[in-house]
């Protein structure tokens, strides 16, 4: 009887462990889509905690997308990242540096006021990284740099706004 109990307990525990591992893998996969915003512009909306494993996946998928889409600009949106500490900043800067080696310029967007103040107090220097407050600003910047822009139809003619 005791042996049976032990076996049951052991099976349940290892099943639980396997489930957790599967879910961690799932999380890695679902959490990092690369979105094509325009010809030559890709974006990655980062959501949740940016630990070493996740930032590695982000970097890989982003670099692959840059090659596939012939992207000149990559936008990293951190609206969904609750905490930006020195490790997260380091991961961001590494990703930016790697993208630059591939010929793409990175723009980090979605820096909230509280996070901006925290980064300043923390003493992190993101001076080498182009940053914008929102994804829309980052897209406008990238479009402008690519030589295209969005013109309001009010000045250009008919069409829905």
């Amino acid at each position: 009887m005791g042996t049976l109990r032990l076996v049951v307990l052991d099976t349940a525990l290892s099943e639980g462990q396997a489930l957790i591992e599967r879910q961690q893998l799932q999380l890695l996969e679902v959490a990092t889509p690369v979105i094509k915003l325009w010809d030559g512009i890709v974006a990655v909306p980062l959501i949740g905690t940016l630990d070493s494993a996740r930032s590695q996946v982000v970097m890989e998928t982003l670099l692959e997308a840059i090659v596939e889409q012939h992207a000149r600009f990559a936008i990293l949106d951190i609206t969904g990242v609750p905490t930006v500490d020195s490790l997260v900043a380091q991961h961001l800067m590494k990703t930016v540096a790697a993208a630059r080696l591939m010929g793409a310029e990175c723009v980090v967007s979605g820096i909230r006021p509280a996070i901006a103040q925290t980064i300043v107090h923390l003493g992190l220097d993101l001076g080498t990284v182009v940053t914008r407050a929102s994804l829309a600003d980052a897209l406008a910047y990238a479009l402008h740099e690519l030589g295209s822009g969005i013109i309001s139809p009010a000045t250009g003619g008919a069409g829905p706004r």
């Binding site: 609750p82 020195s86 490790l87």
Partner: protein
């Protein structure tokens, strides 16, 4: 008047997953005590840095959080303890840009700037305890640097 329920806790720091718990607990506790969004974010970031130090340099440990009061001011105290190798040169460890773990070297010094009070006790071979306090409003801040 916020009480200490939901604030007092002793959380283990053994893995990366525990860092997530630490951050969530600190955010919740700071919110319960009435910290504003900016102060909450600063505290969570400081806790994240210190907890990672505990994990990476101290080989794991724990965080104790408590509600503290002084002259009717309410604050949140976080203590990070480990039984790791300790820090031989405190000045060097606190200086920006110095790292022994391959990071940016901003964690300890940065965390000190993010909170109102910061104390570091370390004995080589015995362990390290970092205690930080932030006050909800009107912080009594007799501080030397900026």
């Amino acid at each position: 008047m916020p009480t200490s329920a939901g604030v007092e806790a002793c959380l283990p720091i053994r893995s990366d997953m525990d860092l997530v718990w630490v951050r969530q607990h600190v955010r919740q506790a700071a919110s319960l005590l009435g910290f504003g969004l900016v102060e909450q974010t600063k505290l969570v970031t400081a806790a994240s840095e210190l907890a990672r130090n505990t994990l990476v340099h101290g080989g794991g440990g724990r965080m104790d959080s408590a509600r503290v009061t002084r002259n009717r001011a309410v604050g949140l105290q976080l203590a990070f303890c480990d039984e790791g190798p300790g820090i031989a040169d405190l000045e060097q460890a606190l200086s920006d840009g110095y790292t022994s773990g391959g990071g940016l070297g901003m964690g300890l010094g940065g965390a000190r700037r993010l909170v109102h009070e910061f104390s570091l006790e370390s004995t080589v071979g015995v362990g390290t305890t970092v205690t930080v306090v932030s006050w909800v409003s009107a912080p009594p801040r007799p501080r030397e640097e900026f």
